[in-house]
Symmetry: C2
Subunit: 205 residues, 2 copies
């Protein structure tokens, strides 16, 4: 008969969220494949049994992080910002400006969690790829929609394809973050985004 040290009060939701949060951090720092379940458990003081009660496999945990942590994070920021500006150009510039201003150590060191997972996992696991792709598509769509409305209200140059431009903008952002991360340089990151601002400005009428 073993004596078990269990949590006094149960809280399955909190346990699940703790795991999701810790997994998010661990994946951000080490990548998914190199992410260690043992380390995640150590950082949460959740037991292995509890982990495997909530998530069937490491893979399931990773997919949950994508859908429940990374997705909503991005959705909140971009959707809200572009919704509250009638001029999409101003909204986009503001978003980039925020990224420039809030260039903290985490972004410079670990980059974009979405992009990290894309580069690592999308060729290796179709479910990962689809989960990530859904987020990207939503992101591009939000930007494209804003540009489209901007064209309708005469604030964005006509004759350009909003979908293509939105795709390029998102790609450039990921590129800037990636390069800033490798340079370990806030200024390189900011210089790169500044050029993106110049490009965006050129989309105005």
């Amino acid at each position: 008969m073993m004596t078990m040290v269990q949590r006094k009060t149960r809280n399955p939701e909190q346990t699940r969220n703790d795991l999701l949060d810790a997994a998010y951090t661990e994946i951000l720092e080490s990548g998914f494949q190199a992410a260690s379940l043992e380390r995640i458990l150590a950082n949460t003081s959740v037991s292995k049994g509890a982990l495997y009660h909530h998530f069937g496999t490491k893979r399931d945990l990773g997919l949950a992080v994508i859908q429940e942590v990374i997705g909503p994070q991005l959705e909140g920021r971009w959707f809200n910002m572009l919704a509250q500006h009638s001029d999409p150009i101003r909204g986009l510039l503001k978003l980039i400006e925020e990224k420039i201003a809030s260039a903290d150590e985490s972004v410079i060191r670990y980059g974009c969690p979405l992009n990290n997972l894309i580069q690592e996992m999308s060729p290796l696991d179709e479910s990962f790829r689809q989960g990530l792709q859904k987020i990207i598509e939503r992101w591009v769509e939000v930007v494209a929609e804003a540009l489209k409305e901007g064209q309708a209200s005469g604030k964005v140059r006509a004759g350009t394809a909003p979908q293509d431009i939105a795709l390029f903008i998102v790609a450039s952002i990921e590129g800037c973050v990636g390069l800033g991360k490798n340079a370990q340089s806030v200024t390189a990151y900011q210089r790169c985004l500044k050029q993106l601002q110049v490009y965006i400005q050129s989309l105005a009428v």
Copy 2:
């Protein structure tokens, strides 16, 4: 007493190159951390003893791949192309055009080996970061230099910072490749690069 089945004729250089090539492929397909030495050996029919004769650690092998495979690959293409065009805009457009035209399965599936390693390894290993950064800096410098000469000869708009623009161009390329890879879509990849061409064209006088 063991019976050893050895290669009839020795060829240390070839052995080293075989290892480098196989490691490059394995890293491209699985990432560095998940790259398996056993798999590399299986694909080369080189023995573990031979591997560890040529490379001290897995890490050393990875660093050698960066310096001796990935670096030269990029250097050749970009340096030559921009050197043989007097108009840098035309040179850049041609390079992008080539990328668009030669969008093969490997690029769409596995993306850019340089970018992959950056996102995975640069926060984890300072030597990796520096090796990769050297390549990026060289790349940016080649583009910046071309733009600068273009400004001098009146083919590129003055008043813009060549270094910053070059940085942005490289970032955008990596971004386009990354997004195309996740979309598993040649056309998305091409649409993205086409927008980059539009941007580059806007740099002309």
